[in-house]
């Protein structure tokens, strides 16, 4: 088993149009580093120069926003699903 990562449209040019890619267990930070190795430039799209997630990127681990967990240090296990979603979506008023 591996970790599944759902890729939003704005990043699919980097992943060769793949909607789901795979990584290995560790932390959110290690998954991002691994995906950057697989798809060069990936990390720079979703993290800033200091390595923190950009303001307008939401990352979910099994449907929970990682800001309610341990942020980029959140532990990721085999079989988990990570979803990367642009923050600029939805909203009412």
């Amino acid at each position: 088993m591996a970790v599944n990562v759902l890729i939003p449209t704005p990043l699919r040019k980097l992943t060769g149009e793949q909607e789901t890619v795979h990584s290995s267990a560790g932390t959110i930070a290690s998954v991002v580093a691994d995906l950057d190795a697989q798809f060069p430039g990936f990390a720079g799209r979703i993290t800033d120069d200091a390595g923190n997630l950009r303001k307008f990127v939401n990352v979910y681990l099994n449907e929970e926003d990682i800001r309610f967990l341990s942020g980029k240090e959140t532990e990721v296990k085999d079989g988990d699903t990570i979803s990367i979603v642009p923050a600029i979506a939805g909203g009412t008023s």
Partner: protein
């Protein structure tokens, strides 16, 4: 012919051609439409607007469509009423209500954004539209897509008020009630939009959709006699409306329709879901998402898409923010009802109660022009307040029963002389 030049990332400035895309590929910032205001200024005047239809489409040149509007032709141009009786309670001599609780056809300001979004969806060639919604947007997308002959999918949190669910189903749409709060619905929709290629009005059509809200600001200025107000108090959920009203006022200034924009913008939220107001009141640069817990479900968005922009707009304009508890929200609904004869939904209760709080804190001069944005109708959220509105007095159909009841209940009555 469109007056839109293109789209630009608000964060990094990258330019994009007009397309159903809402975020920057490079930094995930929001894309914003760029208007050719110089060209618009040569075409639009007070006279051309006054000669236009009595709807939001009188400002068509300032909206991001290429051809004529095809959806929501009767939307907008809602009353701006001087609220003297409410003003007396709040100590304000020039208080106004912009009343989108009577917007056509689904009784909320969402009809504005949906009219633009679906007109644009048709221009882009979509046959299927969708949205993530706390209710009002659901009703509006369902109604307008029915009238336009489009297929629609509506995603809502499963615990929504019955009235809002029913008022989507009636239009023959597909309602998907998702186990989870709005933020979870929204995440699912972002994922679904990528997969199914639908026109999600508040996701991939967001740049167009959002600019429908500018008409709320245009109408306020026109209805005040071509003048921007001193203060506008706006309910915040996703956080778009407050910025778009301000943008509308500033565009009117730039194209020469009003002299200046002294307006301060104020954000109103429920204490049980206050990521935007707490960011503003605490002076924070970081918006912390929250898990919503309030009766004001239509604005219960814990992770608002445009929260940063809302906070920026409030600060830049010199305004402020406040949030109110559920009991204060209910009292706000009652206060508007008994002073102005308007039954607003819970979000409106938030805005009234926040305006009262801001007035008490001394944010407004007593003769300043203050506008309260009322964005939704109370008939849709009856169960949220049903236990707090008192009860009828039950009597028999005869005068002695009436006399007895009037005495017992201390109701005041005078007999005809």
């Amino acid at each position: 012919m469109s007056n839109v030049l293109g789209m630009k990332c608000r964060e990094c400035g990258e330019n994009y051609p007009i397309a159903p895309v809402h975020v920057c590929e490079l930094c995930f910032g929001a894309l914003e439409l760029q208007y050719d205001l110089e060209a618009i200024a040569t075409k639009v005047s007070r006279e051309t607007i006054l000669a236009g239809p009595k709807s939001m489409w009188r400002y068509k040149e300032l909206l991001p469509i290429d051809g004529e509007p095809t959806v929501g032709l009767n939307c907008g141009y809602t009353p701006l009423l001087k609220a003297d009786r409410l003003g007396r309670v709040l100590g304000l001599n020039n208080l106004y209500i912009k009343n989108d609780s009577v917007n056509h056809p689904t009784l909320s300001f969402k009809d504005r954004v949906v009219s633009v979004a679906l007109t644009k969806a048709i221009e882009f060639g979509y046959k299927t539209v969708a949205c993530a919604s706390t209710g009002n947007l659901a009703n509006s997308v369902a109604a307008h897509s029915a009238a336009a002959g489009l297929e629609s999918y509506i995603f809502i949190p499963s615990d929504l008020e019955q009235g809002k669910i029913l008022a989507s189903l009636v239009y023959g749409t597909n309602v998907l009630a998702v186990s989870g709060n709005y933020d979870e619905v929204n995440r699912l929709c972002a994922e679904a939009g990528d997969k199914y290629g639908w026109a999600f009005v508040n996701i991939n059509l967001r740049p167009f959709y959002g600019d429908g809200s500018k008409t709320f600001g245009y109408e306020i200025a026109e209805q005040l006699g071509w003048k921007a107000p001193d203060h506008v108090v706006v309910p915040c959920a996703g956080g778009s409306l407050v910025s778009k009203i301000y943008k509308g006022l500033n565009e009117f200034h730039k194209i020469g329709l009003i002299d200046s924009v002294p307006t301060k913008m104020y954000a109103a939220q429920a204490t049980g879901c206050n990521p935007i107001t707490s960011m503003i009141t605490s002076g924070s640069e970081v918006m912390r998402p929250v898990k919503p817990n309030t009766i004001a479900k239509s604005i219960a968005i814990g992770n608002p898409a445009d929260g940063y922009f809302a906070a920026e707009t409030v600060r830049r304009s010199g305004g402020a923010a406040a949030d109110v508890t559920d009991p204060e929200i209910i009292e706000g609904i009652r206060l508007l009802g008994r002073t102005e004869g308007i039954f607003t939904e819970t979000a409106g209760g938030v805005t009234i109660a926040v305006t009262q709080k801001l007035a008490q804190e001394g944010h407004f001069g007593k003769d300043d022009i203050v506008v309260i944005a009322i964005t939704g109708n109370g008939l849709k959220t009856q169960e949220a307040v049903a236990d707090h509105m008192g009860r009828p007095t039950f009597i028999q159909a005869n005068l002695s029963s009436l006399d007895t009841a009037l005495r017992a209940e201390k109701l005041i009555a005078t007999t005809a002389g």
